[in-house]
């Protein structure tokens, strides 16, 4: 199956295909250190907020505040500090929650999911490796959502590495 380009949808001129397959010749000039680096903040003075962090959603764009989710997270965190049988069951629920789209939708939700996985790894060290793999994948998804060249590339590289690792793991189980 060959895939063509629909410029109306993909917004890429078809003529760019062959050219972009060639080595990148983009005229990137690195900014001079004096332009790209700022002096460290003075003690007692507030640190500048990065431009992109200043954007707050419109009122209507804020996700619904979920008391139920907060409560569930609290219960899970408490259970992860409890006896081993409680920890195991809480870990399963926590992993399912962190994996759910609800906790992958945006940066703040993802942060909660990653914290939860961190706690699962601490509560059950035998699950730590699996938690690291899932964390790595969720972090890569966060990079994809930034929609920048470097972040997208890094996300792809991380996922390729993770998939190689998962394939190695499953080959190890087979033999």
């Amino acid at each position: 199956m060959s895939i063509g380009w629909d410029p109306k949808i993909s917004r890429v001129d078809p003529t760019s295909q062959s050219e972009s397959a060639e080595p990148a010749k983009a005229d990137h000039t690195a900014p001079k250190p004096s332009e790209s680096l700022k002096a460290p903040p003075l003690q007692g003075k507030p640190i500048d907020t990065p431009e992109h962090a200043k954007i707050s959603p419109e009122k209507s764009d804020r996700g619904p505040k979920s008391d139920a989710l907060e409560k569930e997270m609290g219960t899970l965190k408490a259970a992860l500090r409890g006896p081993k049988s409680d920890r195991l069951s809480a870990a399963q629920t926590a992993i399912a929650l962190a994996f759910s789209y609800k906790l992958r939708r945006n940066r703040s939700a993802r942060r909660q999911g990653l914290q939860l996985l961190e706690q699962v790894g601490s509560a059950l060290p035998e699950m730590n490796e699996a938690m690291q793999q899932l964390k790595s994948l969720l972090e890569a998804e966060g990079l994809l959502q930034e929609n920048s060249e470097n972040a997208t590339l890094e996300a792809c590289q991380r996922i390729i590495e993770l998939l190689s690792q998962l394939e190695l793991d499953s080959a190890g189980e087979t033999f």
Binding site: I3, A26, E58, P64, E141, S148, L153
Partner: protein, 205 residues
Amino acid sequence: MDSDELEGLARALLAQGLVQLSIHFPAALEQLGMNPGNALEHALCLSEESIAQAPNLPDGHSALARTLLCHHDDRALEDAAEIFKHALALNPKHDPAEIGLATIALERNAYDEALERVNKVLKRGNGQAQPLVLRALIYMAQEQWEKAHKDMERAVKLAPDNGLFRLDAVKAAAKHGQKNKEEEHRRAAQDALGEHQDKFDTLLT
């Protein structure tokens, strides 16, 4: 979550990443040993593998449909719509599927439907640039330049290095009479797109 679901999600996200690189940053694909043509072939295979491994995960379906959106014909658009709907049936709040359906609605000039779908995503707190750009494109299609400009300003703050988004911001600012913003976005687009910029000039008309 089992290992198949983990691998399934990984393949779906890689497919999404390859499509994103192909459309927005094609030169970067070289670092993965790919070009836009074979990256989309990979994305197609990866999303199909994802569906085979984790059929109940909406991500694989959305990734497959998103890849189909890069295809040329109406049939691909219809197939993509069906697959996005299936993803929504698996999870009615899966933003990539809703955004995909909004994109298709815009392509079919169904502005009300497109707006309704994209607003759903924004109200859920999606927090990414993509739905804002899409809503701006819907407003642009309706010649509502002030609203389009406002959404594009928010979008480029979320994704400042995306050259194509900057071009949309140029158009919205120009049509809304914001000369300074227009120039600012034009310069940023030139920085981001480099030698490829002239290929996208038609998007500004």
